[in-house]
Symmetry: C2
Subunit: 306 residues, 2 copies
């Protein structure tokens, strides 16, 4: 069975997109419960100034807690070199920096144009190297941008190569805006792999804004993608609000992959129970997904044994 | 560009699953508006006794109306030879008979075991041939049954061959229960095509019960499927109710296929406007889909021109 790594990004991407601040103890319970269900990697937070994102202020404590869970890969987002230093200090196993391929989006979001971002990537790469920490670059808005519109595929390839030259060791393609379609996923994965090396592009970060999340994941798997980001309950984006981007739902992704015979290592029934932590700690926050209501496949056990 | 036929089954599969009876005039408006948006085939109803399904009582009038729309392929479901005679009398372009591969389901649903169903298929094939009408067999519960559980793939192949020998000219594989996964779709399409002939299995009828509808459609396309059934607004099944099976949503399917560069002939923006006919004629009936809320891709026009 082919192993696929599901990287749970809810505690970072999910929580940073909602207004409520989840209490530290609830976050710990969430992380522990997902790990117990078999999730092997969790992005526990983001090393951003707490003033900007108070939801992420407890990231160092979460890193420390999560590192105590055996076998769990603890990763965090870093927006810049300062964040990378703090992440290294906290002792993360891995860090990733988002690099928006839409320059307009990059400037609006982090006040850096592409040359400035590439310089930052080089600094972060150095910090990660010195600390012996795994380092990835998230190529965001790779499938299009709400501001710039289509991002030409040549631009994606050119900037991926530039980021690799700046020291990026591993890449993810991120459909920040929910514009990706399966044909585009296949083309772009192929092109970026050809440009930076087959093993360098491992990950897809997908949103389910237009309902194509699972189809896009499938397209990526067929091109050799081995890691897929998702968020429990699709936390962090209402797919029904214009402009908002629902995360790919971890429960539905696990259902699909387990049914297909991939080895995710995740027990779907245990995973479904973790949702109650979110509903209790985040009252009124909408959660998404089909599997939680429809239930696992009837012949689920039979399928995974096949 | 590869042409893909989207067969709108909402007026049959959608309406027969809900309690409200849609007025004839609203059905006509729906069918006319979808055809105007570019939909080339519509299953307008079912030739069942009106006592059993009052929602379908006006099927003959709808067939007559729909045949007046230029370029529209007008199809209907027939449960048996009696229905096929009525469908032929009404002048449908095509008819299909569901053949449940789970014998328990078949007996409970239409009170016929497999030998009785194969005899019925032979009669319907004869009626269709005499009337010069296209005739398809819908292999239902092909991906599993809520009563019997998994339906062995060898059984699917054996019964498809038996149905072909009984006179079936064309087949669809139907995920009646929402159990299909993309790997299973690929395997089963390949096996059935190999057994009955590549051109004989053209169609997938998918439900979105567990959110895998589009991923399953994608898997089918990659194996040479050229027709996909779907229902506007996913009408006819609440994916949030245990056991119920939401139809694949036409709007989301069109978004995906158009974005990928397939030629569906359907104008997504015009299609989205058709939803208002459903919301007006079926007050309180839930409609589904991501595209209606998130909107088309920003670079939609650019993508389809690519």
């Amino acid at each position: 069975m082919t192993e696929i790594l599901i990287s749970e990004v809810g505690p970072r991407d999910g929580l940073q997109s909602i207004k409520q601040v989840m209490p530290l103890e609830a976050k710990k319970a969430w992380i522990a419960a997902e790990a117990a269900a078999g999730v092997k990697e969790i992005e526990v937070g983001s090393f951003v100034p707490p003033k900007l994102l108070p939801q992420m202020a407890d990231t160092p404590e979460l890193v420390e807690f999560a590192k105590g869970i055996e076998g769990l890969n603890v990763v965090a987002l870093v927006p810049n070199a300062r964040g990378a230093e703090n992440a290294a200090k906290a002792g993360v196993h891995g860090m990733s920096i988002p690099f928006s391929l839409s320059e307009t989006h990059s400037i609006r979001n982090v006040k850096k144009d592409h040359p400035a971002m590439l310089a930052e990537i080089a600094k972060v790469a150095e910090i990660a190297k010195d600390a012996g920490i795994h380092f990835a670059v998230g190529l965001s808005t790779a499938f299009g941008c709400t501001i710039e519109g289509a991002v030409p595929e040549d631009t994606v390839v050119r900037l991926a190569v530039a980021a690799a030259e700046a020291g990026g060791q591993e890449f993810s393609l991120s459909d920040t805006t929910g514009y990706a379609d399966p044909a585009q996923v296949k083309r772009l994965v192929r092109k970026v792999k050809a440009a930076v090396g087959d093993d360098m592009l491992t990950t897809l970060h997908l949103h389910n804004t237009r309902g194509l999340g699972l189809a896009n994941a499938l397209a990526g798997l067929e091109e050799g993608i081995t890691t897929i980001d998702s968020s429990l309950g699709g936390l962090g984006g209402c797919p029904y609000a214009p402009g908002a981007s629902g995360n790919l739902v971890t429960e539905d992704l696990v259902l699909m992959l387990n049914s297909m015979g991939y080895d995710t290592g995740i027990d779907l029934e245990k995973l479904l129970e973790v949702r109650s932590i979110l509903t209790e700690a985040l009252p009124g926050e909408p959660l998404y997904g089909f599997t939680p209501d429809a239930g696992p496949m009837l012949d689920y056990k039979e399928r995974i044994a096949r």
